[in-house]
Subunit: 196 residues, 2 copies
DNA sequence: GTCTATAGTGCGATAGAC
DNA sequence: GTCTATCGCACTATAGAC
C-alpha cells in the first residue's frame, strides 16, 4: 500500500494512461469522430499533436494499442457513470442518475461515442473484454433489472444505441445542447416506461 | 422512350448500378460491416470478388465512388420502405408499415446498416445529399407527423438510431432473429406511444 | 471485362542521434 | 521525449495488352 500522502499525487502506475498518453488518446478520439476509426492513421494523430510519428510510437507500441486505449478511455467514462449510479440509495434514483450520465456523455461527446461504439474493430476488442462486459452487465442491471429476459436485453441495447446514435443524426443538427439533453433524457425515460 | 417490350429487360441506364456494379457494392457493404468503412480497401473488395483491382476500377473511378454508391444502395432500401408506407391508406397503417420495414432492414442487415449510418465520411456524403434529406424528411413525417418540433426531431432520430444500433449490441447476441424482430418492433411502438 | 505492370504516395514500424 | 532517416509494404490510381 502507498503512504497516506501519496494519495495527493495521482497514483497510476500499472493502470491508466500517463499524461503524454492521454494527449495521444484525446487527439485520437477527436480524429476518430471526424474521420472514423479505420480512416485515422498514426501520422494524422502525430500531426494533430504537432509531433512526428516516432514520438507517438514512444507512447504506444502499435496503432492497435492506441485504438484499444482510446476505446478503454471511453469505457472508463461510462464506468464512472455506472459506478456513480450504483451509489444511489434506491433503484429509481440509480436509474435516473444513470440516464443523466449517459445523456451527458453522448451530448458532450457528440460523434465520439457513437463512432467508437459502432466500429466493427472496436467491437471485436470489446467482445472478449472483461471490463466492458462487466460495465455493460452492471448498466443493464440498473436500467432494466436483474432477471430481465430478451425484452430487457433489447430494451437496454436500444436505449444505449438511441442515446449515442441520435446525437449525430441530421434531425438534431442545430438543436441547442440543453434542448437536446432534455429531450433525450425525457424520451429515454418514456421509453423505459418511467414517469416524465 | 423505350418500346413496350423493353420493360421486360430491366431498364436502367442513367440510374441504378449495373449488375457488375451491384456485385462490387454487395462485396463492399459486406466488408464495411466486418471491418468498417475506412478500414476497407479497394484491394480487399477485389479479393472478395476474386478479381484484381483494375477490374474494380472499371466499374467505379475511385474508392470514394464505391463508398458513395454503397451508401446510396442502403438509402435506396430505406426509400423503398418509406415509399411502401406512404401507400398505406391511414397514418396509423403507414407508421406500422414503416416500423416493420425499418426493423426488417436492420435485423436482416445486421451490422450493415449501423456501420454505414454511423461512419463520419458517409455522413459527410449524406449531409448535402438531396435524396437522403428527402427520404429522411418523408420518414419523419410518417413517424411523428408534419409539424413536430424538437421533440419530434429527437424522437425520430432516436428510433432510427435505436433500431439500427441495437442489433449489433452484445446484449442481443445469440438472440433468435424472430425474437429480436418482434422485440424491436414492440419496443419501438411503445417508444412512439403506440398501442402494443 | 479482365489481366499485368507500374507510378506515386502514404502507411506502420524501427534505428539511432540529441 | 523528440527528432531524422529509413525499411518494406499496401494503398489509390492509371496504362495498355488480351
Amino acid at each position: 500500500m502507498a503512504s497516506p500522502d501519496a494519495a495527493a499525487v495521482p497514483e497510476r502506475g500499472s493502470v491508466g494512461p500517463s499524461p503524454a498518453q492521454a494527449r495521444v488518446i484525446t487527439a485520437a478520439l477527436d480524429l476518430f469522430a471526424r474521420h472514423g476509426v479505420g480512416a485515422t492513421s498514426l501520422g494524422m494523430i502525430a500531426t494533430e499533436l504537432g509531433v512526428t510519428k516516432a514520438a507517438v510510437y514512444r507512447q504506444y507500441k502499435s496503432r492497435d494499442e492506441i485504438v484499444l486505449a482510446a476505446a478503454e478511455t471511453e469505457l472508463a467514462r461510462l464506468e464512472a457513470v455506472v459506478a456513480a449510479a450504483e451509489l444511489e440509495p434506491s433503484r429509481e434514483q440509480a436509474r435516473d442518475r444513470l440516464l443523466e450520465g449517459m445523456v451527458d456523455l453522448c451530448v458532450g461527446g457528440r460523434r465520439r461515442v457513437s463512432t467508437i461504439l459502432s466500429d466493427p474493430v472496436v467491437d471485436g476488442f470489446f467482445v472478449e473484454h472483461d471490463q466492458f462486459r462487466d460495465v455493460m452487465r452492471r448498466l443493464r442491471r440498473i436500467m432494466v433489472g436483474e432477471g430481465a429476459g430478451p425484452e430487457g436485453r433489447v430494451t437496454s441495447a436500444m436505449v444505449i444505441a438511441a442515446t449515442s446514435g441520435a446525437v449525430t443524426h441530421p434531425f438534431v443538427q442545430g438543436l441547442d445542447d440543453e434542448v437536446l439533453r432534455a429531450q433525450l433524457l425525457s424520451l429515454a425515460r418514456r421509453f423505459l416506461g418511467l414517469p416524465t
